[in-house]
C-alpha cells in the first residue's frame, strides 16, 4: 500500500479544476481517493459555507469521474475543510490516495486510515457520547491504516458537526437541550470532546479522565496529534488518521512537533533538523519543494497573554479570535517553511499544550534515510 499526497490551489470553493486536470492527466486516479483535507475562504465559524461548497464541488467531480452518486462519494470519503485563510495563507486542498500492489521497503511508509462515527445530534456535542464514539472511530481508522503503535500516529484530523441557532432551538424545544445555546461555543465543545476522544484512543489521556466533566476544564489533558474542526456541513465525526507503518511503502514520511505558545518555533526547527533540512531560519526553495503538506493547530491563549505581554484577541468584537490566531501562527510557520498553502486551524482545545498547538508535516524523504 502506498499513500499519495496531492496538493491543489483553490481559487474559489467551487473551482476544483486543479483536481479535474490531475484526473484528466492521470496524475490522480479518482478511484484511489480516500480523503481530502483543505482550507477554504470562509471565516471558519458557524456561518462558513465555503466548506460545504467545496465538499459538494469535489464530490460532484469525483462522482462523475468514478460513476458514483454524490451521496455515495460523501459517505466514503471524508471531506475535511477548515475555513479561514487569514494573512499570507492560501486556500488549497490536499487529496490523499491509496494505491495497492507496492512492496514495503526497509523503512516505515506513510499510512492513512479513515473512519466515521455514527451521526451526532446537537445534544451529543461536547458530551460523553462524542468522546467515546470518536475514540472508537480513531481506533478503527488506526486499525484500517495498519498502524500498530500509537507513537506511530502523527496526525489525527477530525471534522465534526456544528449547528446553527435553528437546530439548537429545535433540540431545546424537543426536550434535548444542547450543552450551550450558543452556536459558536457549541463548536468549541465539539472540538474539545473530540480531542479527548483522540487522546483516549491513543493513550494520551487516561480513559478515566476522558470524561464529559473534563471538557473545556482540564486543559492539562490533551492529545499532541489531534486536530479537530467543526462545521455545519457534516453530521458525524469524520476521522482521518495519518502515521507510519511497516506495511506501507513510498517516499513520504510524517512527523509532528508541539508549539508551547504562539511564538514557539523551537520544536519546528528541531523537527526540520530531524527530517534532514539544513536551513534555519527559513528553508531554501529546494527544501520547500520537499514539503507535501503541513497541518497546524493553534489558539489564542486563554490567559490573555503571549510571553508576558497581553494580547487583544479575546476582547475583539469585530474579528473573531480564530481569525486572529490563524493569521498569526500561520504566518510564523509559513516564514519558516517558505510555503503558504498550509492547513492552519484555530480552536485547539485539548489539542496540544494549552495556549499552544501542533505542527504535523508530510515531506518527501531526502534520499538519505
Amino acid at each position: 500500500m502506498q499513500t499519495g499526497v496531492h496538493r491543489f490551489s483553490l481559487p474559489d470553493p467551487g473551482d476544483v479544476s486543479g483536481l479535474a486536470l490531475a484526473i484528466e492527466e492521470g496524475t490522480v486516479d479518482p478511484a484511489e481517493i480516500v480523503a481530502v483535507i483543505g482550507k477554504t475562504h470562509g471565516n471558519g465559524l458557524v456561518n462558513d459555507y465555503t466548506r460545504g461548497y467545496l465538499a459538494q464541488s469535489l464530490a460532484l467531480l469525483i462522482g462523475q469521474a468514478t460513476g458514483q452518486s454524490l451521496d455515495a462519494v460523501r459517505t466514503q470519503i471524508p471531506f475535511i475543510f477548515s475555513g479561514g485563510v487569514e494573512g499570507v495563507l492560501s486556500p488549497h486542498y490536499t487529496v490523499f490516495t491509496v494505491s495497492a500492489g507496492h512492496t514495503p521497503g526497509p523503512r516505515k511508509g506513510l499510512a492513512i486510515g479513515v473512519s466515521f462515527t455514527p451521526e451526532l445530534l446537537p445534544e451529543d456535542i461536547g458530551r460523553q457520547r462524542q468522546i467515546d464514539v470518536t475514540a472508537d472511530a480513531v481506533a478503527d481508522a488506526m486499525h484500517r491504516a495498519s498502524i500498530d503503535a500509537p507513537e506511530d500516529v502523527h496526525f489525527v484530523q477530525i471534522k465534526g458537526p456544528a449547528f446553527q441557532q435553528g437546530d439548537i432551538v429545535s433540540s431545546m424545544r424537543a426536550g434535548r437541550p444542547p450543552i450551550t445555546d450558543n452556536p459558536g461555543k457549541l463548536m468549541g465543545f465539539g472540538r474539545a470532546a473530540s480531542a479527548l476522544g483522540v487522546g483516549k484512543a491513543l493513550g494520551h489521556v487516561p480513559p478515566a479522565r476522558a470524561v464529559a466533566g473534563a471538557v473545556l476544564k482540564d486543559f492539562d489533558l490533551y492529545s499532541p496529534v489531534a486536530s479537530v474542526s467543526a462545521g455545519v456541513e457534516v453530521r458525524c465525526n469524520e476521522v482521518v488518521v495519518i502515521g507510519l507503518s511497516a506495511r506501507w511503502s513510498g517516499d513520504l514520511t510524517i512527523t509532528h512537533a508541539p508549539m508551547a505558545d504562539a511564538l514557539d518555533i523551537s520544536g519546528i526547527h528541531t523537527m526540520l533538523g530531524g527530517l534532514g533540512f539544513a536551513g534555519a531560519p527559513q528553508l531554501s526553495s529546494s527544501e520547500t519543494a520537499r514539503i507535501k503538506a503541513c497541518f497546524v493547530k493553534c489558539e489564542a491563549s486563554r490567559d490573555g497573554a503571549v510571553r508576558g505581554n497581553f494580547h487583544t484577541m479575546l476582547n475583539d468584537g469585530d474579528m473573531d479570535q480564530q481569525r486572529h490566531i490563524r493569521g498569526a501562527v500561520g504566518a510564523v510557520v509559513a516564514s519558516i517553511l517558505g510555503d503558504t498553502a498550509l492547513f492552519v486551524s484555530g480552536g485547539a482545545e485539548h489539542q496540544g499544550p494549552d495556549g499552544g498547538g501542533l505542527v504535523s508535516l508530510i515531506v518527501e524523504h531526502n534520499g538519505e534515510g
Copy 2:
C-alpha cells in the same frame, strides 16, 4: 544630548498609568518628552478613534505634569499612533525623551528630531503640496536631530491627517475636491505622497520623480526608512526622524532592514547579526531584553500572491487587508524577536519594496562595540 526610549504597555487607550508611574518614580522627566509612538486597539482605519483617545490621555497627563495646557502639549509633541494589534501583537506606546548635558562618546548616539508641516486640507492629500511640505519637514527634523548624512537616518515616522466622509463632502461642495471621495482610499494617497516626501528629502527618490503623478503609480520609487500612518486625529503631517549622530551619546543604537515580501526574514537576521545577537532562529530572552523598540511596515502584495501562492487579503469584505497583513507580518517578526510589543503598521505604499516593507530596531549596545 541623549535619547531615552521608554516603552509602556497600554491596557486601554485611556489608561496611561504606565507613564504616570514612571513620571512619579522619576524614571521619565515629563519636560524631556519629545515624541510618543504607539500601537492602539482600534482597526487602524478611518473610524479608529483609539489613536485620538490615547493622544488626549497622554496630553492630559503630560500637561498636568509639566503645567502646560493640553493644546500646548499637542502642538509640541508628535503623538503618532497606529491602530491595529492583530494576532499576538500587544498595545503599547514608546516615549522618547531627550536630555542635555551628556558628552558624546566615541561612537554615534541615537538621535531624534521632530517637525510639523503646516495644516493639510482634504484637497492637499496625495498631491504635490503634501509631498513637498513633508520633504521640508523631514529635512527640518533631521537638522534638529543633528544628523548630517541621510544614510544615518534609520527611521522616519510620519502621522498625517485622515478625513471622514463628511469632511470630504464639505470639500467637494466648496469646489475643492479631494483626489478621491473614498475616505479609506484617501488615507492611502496620504501615506503614499508622504513617503515620496521622505524619499525626496533623503535622496531615495530623485526630486524630479517625487511628483504627484508618481503617487500610487511608480512603486519602484520608495524610501527604505519611511513609515507613514494616517488618522482623523491629526491635521498636519507630524514627523519624527530617528538615526545616529556623533553629537549624541548613550547606549542605544538603531538600524533597519528591508523585507522583500511578507515572508522575507533574511534581512532581519542579517541585521540582528550585525547588532551582535547570536540567536537565530529566535532571540533568547536575555537578547530580547536588549530590544527597546521595533517598528515594522508591511502591506498585502498588490499582485495578490506571496511566493507564488495567491492570498485572499485584497478580496476580503469582512476583514480589511491591513488587519490581515499586520497580524501576519507582526507575528513573523515577533517570532524572531520573542517580543510582541511591536509597532507594526500596514499600508506601505512607497515605504520599502513593493509588497514588502521595513523593520527598524532600537537596541542597547551589547557592550562590545
Copy 3:
C-alpha cells in the same frame, strides 16, 4: 402563459430541500422553471461564495429532476443571488415558473422574460460594452416576455460578473487593464454600467447619455426599475425582466415604488394603497399573506447624511456600507409588510434616486380588481 412565483426558505446555501419537496409534491414542475432570485447568507461582497453554492445546489437539483446536465441548466436559467441578510432579513429564494395553455383574462397578467449577454471580461466591466450588451439583453428579455411598453416593466434584475484580485492582475498583465484594480470597486462599476444599460433599453436614460463617461458620475441618470448585483459566480450579465402583459394570465400582479432616501416610506404606502391594502402602518397577517415576493434596492447616501444627520456607513472599516444599508432599509420595509423574506440588495448606483432606491412588489390580486 402564466407566471408562477414560489418562495422557499433557505436554511443553508446547500439546502434546497424546499424546492425538492415542491417538485416531489408536484407544486413546482421543474421543466417550467425559468429563473431563480434569492438572498443568501454571505456578505454580498467579492468573497461571498454562498451565491455560487446555492446556484450549484439548485442546478444539481433541477438537473436531476429534468434529466439535464448541470451545465445545461446553468446556461438556461438565471440564478440571481445577492448575499447579505443583515438584521431581520431571512435567507430565501424565489422560483419563477412559466406554464403555457392559459387564456389571458381581462386584465394584464404577470409576465417574465430572461436573457443573457455574451461573456464579459474584467476589462469590459463599467465600460460602454457592458452598457450596450445589457441594453440589448433587456430589450430581448422584454420581447420574450411579450411586454410591449416600457411602463409595463416593473422590475429588471441583473446579475453580472465580479472578479477576484487574481483575475484583475491577470488582465493587467495581459495589457487589458480593468477600469479599477480594486475588486470591490469593480463590482460597483459593473452595477452602475448595467443600470445605465437598463435605463437605455427602457427609455429612462437617453441613449446619448448612456455612455461610459456617465458611469458613477451623472447620478441624475437612473432607471427606476433596475436592480443589479454582481458576483464571482457568473461570467455574463444574466437578465430577468418582470412586468405586466395582456398576453399573460393569472392572479398575480407587480408594481414598484421609489424610495427617495433610506427613510422614505411614503411611496411604499401609496403603492400598497393602490394594490388595495388597507393597512398602514403595517399590513395585517392576512394582507401579508398576499405578498409573493418583494425586491428592494438601496444604498448609503454618498453625501454622508440622512435627513440632515450624518451617518457613519462610509467611514466604517469593520462593516461594509452594504451590510449597514441592507440591514436598515430591509428592516424598514419588513416593518411595513410584516415579512422578512425580502430580496434587499445594496449598491443602487443609477438604480433609483441617488441615496434612495426601489421597491418592487409581486402580490396576489385581492379579488376586486
Copy 4:
C-alpha cells in the same frame, strides 16, 4: 425644578464642540448638567473605547467650564454611552440639565434623578450583589427625582462595568472567578442582573424572583422601562431615572412603549397618538421637531426567528448580533419618527418582552395638554 434636554451631534468621540458652543452661547449652563446619554461610533462590545473617549472629552470640557477637576466631574455626572450607530443611526449625545426656581404647573413635569452603586468587581457581575445594589440605586435616583409612583418612571438607563480578558484572568487567579470567562458574555450577565435590579426596585419583578438564579434564565421577568449597557469605561452601575413628577415643571414629557418583537411598531404608533401626533406612518418634519430624545432597547430573538422566518443574527461570525439588531430596529424607529439621532442599544435581556424591546420618548408638549 425643570429638566432641560439638549441633543448634540457627535462628529468624532473627541469632538464635543456642540456642547462647547452651547455653553459659550449660554444655552446650557454647565453647572446644571446632571447626566449625559449618547451613542458613539464604536462596536458597542468589549473593545469599544469610543465610549470612554467621549466621557473623557465631555468631562474635560465640563471641568474647564465649571472649574472642577476631571475626576470630580466623573463622579458626579453619569456619562452613559452606548457604542454602535449601524445603518442610518447618527452619533450624538443628549445633555440633561436641571434648573431650580421654577414653579410647577398643573401637569406633571419631566423629572430626572441619578445615582451610583458602589464599585462592582468582575466577580460581582451577573450575581445577586449587582441585582441588589442596582435596585437600591434605582430607588435612590427615583427618590432624588421626586417621582412618587413607579408607574411615573418611563425610562431607567444604566451603565455598568465591562471587563477585558486581563481583568477576568486576574480575578480567576485571585480565587474570585467571574460567572463566565468570556468578556462579551460577561457584559450580557451584567445587563441582565442590572435589569432585574430595576424590575425589583419598580415592582415589575417580585423581590423573591429577582435572584441570581433567574439571570439569563427566566425571560418572563423583565422591567418594561429598563435599558442597560455595559462598558469597560465605568466601574460601578451609573443610574439615571427619568419620569414625571408633580414637583417638576416645563414643556417636556416622557412616555414609553413596548416592542413585542423587532417589527412591532403598533405600540410606538399608539404612543405617538397619545402624545398628540397626527402622523402615521411617518411624522411630518414639524412633528419630528417636537422630539427631544428617543431611547430604544432591542435584541436578536433567542429563538432564531422573527414572525416565523428565521434570522441569521446569532450564527454570524463576522458581525455581532448587536450590530445587526441595532441597525434593523434603529431604522424601523427612525422611519416612523423621521429622526436618526436615536439612542438604540442592543442586548435587552430582561428589558422588555423577550425578543422585543422598549421605546422611550421625550417630546415637547403640543400646547394642547
